[in-house]
Amino acid sequence: MEFAIDYILIPLVKIALLLAVLPLAVAALTLFERKIIAYMQVRLGPMRVGPWGLLQPIADPIKLLLKEDIIPAGADRWIFVLAPVISVISAFIVFAVIPFGPEINIFGKAIPLWITDLNIGALYVLSISSVGVLGIILAGWASNSKYPLLGALRSAAQMVSYEVAMGFSIIGVLMLAGSLSLVNIVKAQQSSGVWYVFYQPVAFLLFFICGVAETNRAPFDLPEAESELVAGFHTEYSGFRFSLFFLAEYANMITVSAMAVTLFLGGWLRPFPNVPWLGFLDIIPPLFWFIFKIIVFMYFYFWFRASWPRYRYDQLMKLGWQRLLPLAMANVIVTAILVVLLRG
């Protein structure tokens, strides 16, 4: 009985909760994005659905789900159907290892706010996010159309090249924490009392830049560059299947933000966990800090989109291979030397 509750019931409840909350969060984020970008462009954004456009995130999915679902005649049916599913699954299962908060007590039972604590959590997240590329490539190929194929090719090249720099940029953190488990990385930051962003500022910037490129967001949104490729890899998708890609994209943005928060900004820890007189901040639950930090990152995503023009393709490759990758490697070497010298 105890076994069934611990290993079946509680994880199932957590998974169900996550699967319910994540699409809602994505829906809310779309309104957040449209409002922020609108205000940055001196407009108002959605104002007509509900007061201040607050019901827009409900109207949008309803519209998408009621739309006709078209599969082009020339498309490879099976792969066309499979591609968005791969995308969305790989975007969702990453959340299995992300620690949303510390252990909490419910009815005298300690329940951790993560689904599972993999001892190779960071590696798992990186590898699953590369599986997401597969969905995009398949979508581009199965559509049997020019623009999706071009979008998919760009996406493949971009994600592969930025994945490398991303992987290197987190090595510094892993060396400091001495663990690949995301929970242990947060706990290491708690015991050292300092967020790793202060030890690894360069790695943090690199990670976030690569994260933006990984999720195909502006200014690296070449795979779906509206002005060149219509909608890139999901040009031929409509209705429900399009909404799956949309969901996957936003879920990936949350993942990258959550990873950046966990690795560099102390996960669920309050700001400056080592300063005692800030102790009054402990009243606010850790889950709030985690979500708040993610929202700040999302804000940056939208801020970038409203501010910067898209990179040209060769500039994108040059930036990835010639700037970010050497910088990330240099960061790894410097960190390694410092860790050895300081720990003796």
């Binding site: 940055m40 001196v42 407009r43 108002l44 801020w303 501010s307």
Partner: protein
């Protein structure tokens, strides 16, 4: 033509000064007071002071009689000949306005009629909502002109 690329100093390149400038600009635009959108059907827009819109024949506010003296100058001034003034002579052989037609489908809102009018009668108002269901509705008679254009009020 070859456009010379702007030279960026090394420090500017390393610290991405131009990108951050762009970010700060968009950030400052978020102030609601900077917002430019008008909620048009809900809120009446501000029309420029010298805007020339729907024509109106003004009545004397005290007596309620028309200010038009049927001099026909507006019709003569109109480059499009879209004004027709109808009059008759009264007992004192003075011109009295009987009917007045203004074809707003041909009007280009140049305002020459307004300038020609010797009394403050003919006026091109600030009203701009002139869409109608048929072409025949665009010939405005004296009654319509004296009432002025009454735009449909948006309620919701």
């Amino acid at each position: 033509m070859k456009v010379k690329r702007p030279e960026l100093s090394l420090l500017k390149k390393i610290f991405l000064v131009d990108l951050i400038k762009g970010l700060l600009l968009t950030f400052s635009y978020q102030r609601p007071s900077k917002n430019y959108t008008e909620q048009y059907p809900k809120v009446r827009p501000k029309v420029s002071e010298r805007y020339r819109g729907a024509p109106r024949l003004n009545n004397d506010p005290e007596t309620g009689e028309t200010l038009c003296i049927a001099c026909n100058l507006c019709a003569l001034a109109c480059p499009e000949h879209c004004i027709e003034v109808g009059w008759e002579r009264d007992a004192a052989s003075k011109k009295v306005l009987t009917d007045y037609t203004f074809d707003i489908s041909r009007c280009m809102f140049c305002g020459l009629c307004e300038d020609a009018c010797p009394t403050p009668c003919l006026e091109l108002t600030q009203d701009f909502e002139l869409s109608l269901y048929g072409r025949k509705d665009m010939k405005w008679d004296r009654q319509k002109l004296e009432e002025g254009n009454q735009p449909v009020v948006y309620t919701k």
